[in-house]
């Protein structure tokens, strides 16, 4: 018996509705976040991630209310990301019932924010969310990925592997790694990227972006060396249930919580 690899359904929420886009564009409505979170909890999901994809100041009150409603129904860990820019945002989400917060662009603008957040709330609740895309290889021929912002439109010039290492050294307790190339394509995780980050840091890594079938989840763990696998549309649109995903992973020799 060992630690189970986690399966994490992800709710991308826009104005109080779960949506799913392809490469962050082309939105499709998937339903009410509280109902969906409850369904995944009942199916035996190991954790739930809630991403406020618009994260406007005006929409914040709705988001907080939705997180509160989910937390009252769901007794597994809940991570909330999107628009986490200030220490007060973290406190608001933790008070609403989140267990962890995902920090993304705020860390790029001010890396010390992650340090301050980890010192204040503990590394266990600070997840560094990294959106990366493959770019031309390094001079030595090795693959290179860069951090992108603004839904994958804006390159930052920051090397994804170096960034993950730096954020972990600043106190991030987990990495949520999204391949912007893969997101919404259903072509599978970027396994080389996932493996490179997982081997570079000592904290758990969640693979995200591109899941289209159950073999992709298996590949994320076995080839990508991910500690957890995140997926959205395969669960939202009932292509697969969480128990089906777990049973399939178990059949491939992966330790899961059944």
């Amino acid at each position: 018996m060992a630690l189970a690899k986690r399966i994490i359904p992800c709710l991308d929420v826009d104005k109080g509705r779960v949506v799913k886009g392809v490469n962050f564009v082309g939105i499709r409505d998937a339903g009410d976040p509280v109902e969906i979170a409850k369904r995944y909890n009942d199916q035996g999901a190991d954790e739930i991630t809630f991403l406020d994809i618009t994260a406007t100041h005006e929409g914040r009150a709705t988001t907080v209310q939705t997180v509160e409603q989910i937390a009252a129904e769901v007794f597994i860990p809940l991570t909330v990301g999107g628009g986490i820019r200030e220490i007060s945002d973290i406190r608001t989400m933790l008070n609403a019932g989140a267990d962890k917060v995902g920090i993304n662009s705020a860390a790029i603008h001010n890396p010390d924010f992650v340090r301050e957040a980890a010192e204040r709330f503990g590394s266990q609740c600070i997840v560094i969310a990294i959106d990366a895309k493959q770019v031309p290889n390094n001079p030595d021929g090795s693959p290179r990925w860069e951090i992108f912002t603004h839904g994958g439109r804006k390159p930052t010039g920051i090397d994804a592997v170096a960034w993950a290492r730096k954020m972990v050294s600043y106190g991030a307790g987990e990495v949520l790694l999204t391949s912007m190339d893969g997101d919404g394509t259903k072509a599978g995780y970027d396994l080389a990227l996932t493996r490179a980050i997982s081997e570079a840091v000592a904290v758990p890594v969640i693979a995200s972006g591109g899941v289209g079938n159950l073999d992709h989840l298996v590949d994320g763990v076995i080839e990508g060396k991910a500690d957890a696998v995140l997926a959205a549309s395969i669960f939202h649109f009932a292509e697969y249930t969480v128990p089906e995903a777990k049973a399939y992973m178990a059949s491939k020799g992966i330790e899961v919580r059944l």
Partner: protein
């Protein structure tokens, strides 16, 4: 279930919402008070001592609020459930933050997993120990009632308990973790029952019906 009160000790260390929310879910009619008020804690029938974050900050906050001696006192007088860093604070001392003296309610130390933790097959293990691990019950206990042996619970911690006695459950993560301890009125768990799905809710429900005292030292069948 008796109509009773349970105090969740709030000493500024992290999010107690989920503990209170889980108690509301299972505690039919139980009054849940999230509080740092000594009189409220002393008047409660049961006490939950949670905690997240670094042990130095936890101990400093407890002392600043005058709650360190209160926790020691109520641990001897009423059923208490320590959770995660709350459990760690009940031990003699912790290696975290360069060594911190704790409340010495339970014998044993809190140790670091180490920077190069490996499983039996030599695979590197990530620290923190984060996720769902199996918990092996050491003996039958009212708090394990209705929970299958080797059920999975949610853990998230970088330091683990090494206790010489009173071990109520173990888990494996590179080393043997003492995942639960029980001594008289105190039951303490390293994992988060409030985040451990049905098994965790059952443990909290069992706690709300537990009156403390000794376990039945029968091996788990």
């Amino acid at each position: 279930m008796t109509k009773s009160t349970v105090a969740v000790i709030d000493y500024g260390m992290g999010n107690l919402h989920s503990v209170a929310s889980a108690l509301h879910k299972v505690g039919d009619g139980v009054t849940v008070q999230v509080t740092d008020d000594p009189d409220t804690i002393l008047a409660a029938d049961r006490v939950i001592f949670p905690g997240v974050g670094a042990i130095r900050d936890c101990m400093a906050e407890l002392k600043a609020r005058g709650l360190d001696e209160l926790v020691q006192e109520v641990s001897a007088t009423k059923p208490m459930l320590g959770i995660c860093v709350g459990m760690q604070a009940l031990m003699e001392s912790s290696e975290e933050n360069g060594g911190v003296a704790c409340l010495d309610v339970l014998p044993g130390q809190v140790k670091f997993f180490g920077a190069d933790l490996r499983d039996g097959g030599g695979e590197r293990l990530k620290v923190p120990h984060m996720g769902w691990n199996t918990v092996k019950q050491s003996y039958e206990h009212p708090l394990w009632e209705g929970i299958a042996d080797n059920s999975r619970f949610y853990f998230v911690h970088s330091y683990y308990i090494d206790a010489p006695e009173f071990v109520a459950a173990t888990a494996e993560y590179g080393v043997e973790i003492h995942a639960a301890l029980h001594c008289e009125n105190v039951f303490a768990v390293q994992f988060h029952p409030e985040k451990s799905g049905d098994a965790g809710l059952r443990l909290l429900s069992n706690f709300l019906r537990w009156d403390g005292g000794q376990a039945v030292f029968r091996p788990v069948s």
